[in-house]
């Protein structure tokens, strides 16, 4: 390789400096082996926890994806209903909110995919780290059993440099995953807020409150039904009021839950 100190060479040196510092502190290089091994096991636990954290965040985004999908579908249906009722103002409002829901959906889909990629990378990193820790353990036992302190210097140096670089790489991967998870959480919280505010809420969900578009549509439909019943009464004064079960609104069980 060329003599010039390029980025790749400087990065390699930085990783090696970390390993050498640990070695320089020890009286007998073999002491470093056990200490390093303990730190490796701690790191492996951390990486596995990191994988679980990223998976939790990913699942949260997937839940929100499905909530936003439902909201967009419901707003689309409301817009159609509003057009049918001659309420273009309500249709416009519903379509505006649907567009907002869809743009959130696009954004969190991107983030969800990014998190899934981080999860896959961290999972592989954990597997590789585990294999290398196992290799380190074998080499550690060999060095401790076979070599004198003087001979161990080189062998320990090689083993520690190898594993230290791996741990540094995995540590960086964890930092990146944590950064991405933190970014994601800010957006997920915003979307949770949006969903909780009722702006995208599902009016027909059990216990869900009625949103204002649906209330206005119901009022419109209700008014026209009353007008129709009134007209029917006028046309046939002897006829009694029609049973409620004939009404299309009452046939929808979800809407019976509404206040």
């Amino acid at each position: 390789m060329c003599v010039a100190v390029t980025i790749a060479r400087r990065l390699a040196l930085l990783f090696r400096v970390k390993a050498n510092k640990a070695l320089d502190r020890a009286e007998d290089p073999r002491e470093v082996l056990d200490y390093s091994y303990e730190r490796q096991l701690e790191m492996l636990t951390q990486v596995r926890r990191g994988v679980a954290d990223v998976a939790t965040s990913r699942k949260r985004l997937e839940l929100q994806q499905s909530q936003l999908h439902q909201a967009a579908d419901r707003l689309q249906a409301q817009a159609a209903e509003a057009v049918g009722a001659g309420r273009d103002d309500l249709a416009r409002e519903a379509l505006t909110r649907r567009s907002a829901a869809l743009s959130e959906l696009t954004a969190i889909t991107t983030q969800r995919d990014a998190l899934q990629a981080e999860e896959a990378k961290l999972t592989l990193a954990a597997q590789r780290l585990q294999a290398r820790i196992e290799a380190f353990r074998t080499r550690k036992e060999t060095i401790k059993a076979t070599y004198t302190a003087a001979e161990a210097q080189t062998r320990v140096g090689e083993a520690v440099s190898g594993i230290s670089e791996e741990m540094g790489d995995v540590g960086l991967a964890m930092q990146r995953a944590e950064d991405k998870t933190a970014q994601m959480q800010a957006r997920a919280q915003a979307i949770d807020g949006l969903l909780a505010s009722g702006a995208l809420d599902d009016a027909s969900a059990p216990g869900g409150h009625r949103d204002d578009i649906q209330a206005a549509l119901d009022a419109t439909t209700g008014t026209s039904e009353i007008e129709r019943e009134l007209a029917a009464l006028k046309a046939a004064p002897a006829l009694t009021a029609r049973p409620a079960a004939d009404s299309p609104r009452a046939a929808d069980p979800a809407k019976e839950n509404q206040p």
Binding site: R9, L11, A131, E165, G171, Q175, R176
Partner: protein, 92 residues
């Protein structure tokens, strides 16, 4: 020669491929020196592709330090500066 791609893997590259990698490495360094973000991204992708293409992945059970360490595929100039500017940033 052992080359690590951060966040990915280590590769063993034959000495006969080093001239080609050297040229790509020099381009990468030039882009950093010139603060050329698009040039950096392009040079990095070219270099990583060459390493993956010509190198053989080091098996997981092999423990060895790398001669060269390359940034992750999605690294940007700021990240590289942060890594190089303060060795304390490398965990482990």
């Amino acid at each position: 020669m052992i080359i690590r791609i951060l966040g990915e893997a280590q590769y063993e590259v034959a000495d006969t491929d080093l001239d080609r990698l050297n040229a790509l490495d020099a381009t990468l360094q030039g882009a950093v020196d010139a603060d050329d973000a698009p040039g950096f991204a392009a040079a990095l992708q070219a270099l990583l592709a060459a390493v993956r293409d010509r190198g053989a992945a080091v098996p997981d059970h092999v423990l060895t330090a790398s001669d060269l360490v390359l940034p992750a595929p999605d690294a940007d100039l700021d990240e590289i500066r942060a890594l190089l500017g303060d060795e304390g940033l490398i965990p482990g």
